[in-house]
Symmetry: C2
Subunit: 326 residues, 2 copies
Amino acid sequence: MYLIDNLQYANWSEKIFRQMQEGGVTAVHVTIAYHETFRETVANVETWNRWFERLPELIFHGRTGDDVRRAKTEGRTAIFFGFQNPSPIEDDIGLVEIWHSLGARFMQLTYNNQSLLATGCYEADDSGVTRMGRQVIREMNRVGLVVDMSHSAERSTLEAIEISERPIAITHANPAFWHPARRNKSDDVLRALGQTGGMLGFSMYPHHLKDKSDCTLASFCEMIARTADLMGIDNIGLGSDLCQDQPDSVVEWMRVGRWSKEINYGEGSASDAGFPPMPNWFEDNRHFGNIAAGLMEHGFSEADIAAVMGENWLRFYDYNFGPADG
Amino acid sequence: MYLIDNLQYANWSEKIFRQMQEGGVTAVHVTIAYHETFRETVANVETWNRWFERLPELIFHGRTGDDVRRAKTEGRTAIFFGFQNPSPIEDDIGLVEIWHSLGARFMQLTYNNQSLLATGCYEADDSGVTRMGRQVIREMNRVGLVVDMSHSAERSTLEAIEISERPIAITHANPAFWHPARRNKSDDVLRALGQTGGMLGFSMYPHHLKDKSDCTLASFCEMIARTADLMGIDNIGLGSDLCQDQPDSVVEWMRVGRWSKEINYGEGSASDAGFPPMPNWFEDNRHFGNIAAGLMEHGFSEADIAAVMGENWLRFYDYNFGPADG
């Protein structure tokens, strides 16, 4: 079985890469930028290159769907790069192709705030995809960099689905019908996403879960079944948002970056400022088997479990990571 | 016949790319940095990406020897990137791999001055390859970025040949025995280069030619024959240093960059400050046939002409543009 987790941002270590191998994780989409500039994100790639050089028996840099197949054959994990903000392209559309050459495969048009391209889900008003945003979506479509709207506001997300000539992704979020968090998505968004061949990655980040850290596996799997009914079994996968071993200073960087001098708690609160504990059925990369077992328990077929655990993302990678005419 | 010119820095235009096609030029190694920083060189790649997008029937970005074969089959010209200075890696060894990912295939350890890596040919004292230079050569060897010593001083060049575990190149220069210009190379350097599988690209830049702009084709071809005797017929090719259609302001940028407030004439002089006129047998990309004809006239076999005009560089590309373990 292919096992693809389409969003993690751990405090990377050999321990975590060994857990990926132990858990049979074939591919992981990792975040390499939250608020970083172009040059700072290049430095993050350099850090990854050192990991790839040091631990080639565990991980390598993935660029295509075939790299996932190679990872499976070789018992390694393919690491795919993505951004949770368009800050790495700054105000320069030419950097879209530069980033594709450097291996980036997903880029959020926004994190939580207004960006140069679209509106984030914490803004009071959502003015939709900007002039530059329309140009950048076209350029992303041309080179094969996937539009990710995980942190974007409703109108911006619907417009991005409409404007993009290739399917887009919401790499890590859940349906609002199950848990009405600001980061979770409306039925309208999910339906439009599914109808255009887009993908949703289910998040295991407690703020996105019903009952947060106490969310049960059964509830999570029932939510997956209902989402499959809404948007199609072929359009859903995993995007755990696992932030393993990160100090709380990192969630502060995610939320505040350099854009504010004030503290901001995002999905948390003053009394619950740090990373919340993960649910006990998903604490690290060795626990994906629990989800597969939960889906089986809920009555999913073997074929559907394989689709959700990795095959859907693999097919999406195959069609969307290369040039539009490729 | 494969026709590879391993160094040009023209004022690029559709006219020049059409001349490449008309001249049957299979591949060109183009300079994308003289003194540019990392970010400035990325901007130069962006400019090239726009050319590739606009004129795909004429040119595309080459990364491997197989791209040269593809160019030949498709009647296009493959463009390979290189630097005449290590300024695009700044003081950051991690940028070596970043640049390989972005398609750079040659990097000079120095232009004319001392760099962080080695000594250029205009310095009074040549202290050889530096501490960082040794580390960077090893990293270039690892990823498949070729060391180019075209503008380096004698000791630094001999040390680079010795330290590098893969063959190096002198992409554009001639033998000093023929024309003792500061940029031309000693017998010792050429012999060591040939013995280690390295390549010399013959320059048609007038300051590197005997009798400069008046150099005859017969003299140029006789020089090629003598160089083949010195370092082997398999280790020589072309590196024209064609700077077609450039305004004289560009040669000033090459010579002075931002490192001096004073004017410096390099290989020229106050009375001859600009680009010198090219010899009448090589004015642009349509004239490589003259060189092939001149070599035939001089008595070269057809096989040896094919080797010098492109096959030697193609073999060098095949072996040296990928990872050391690839």
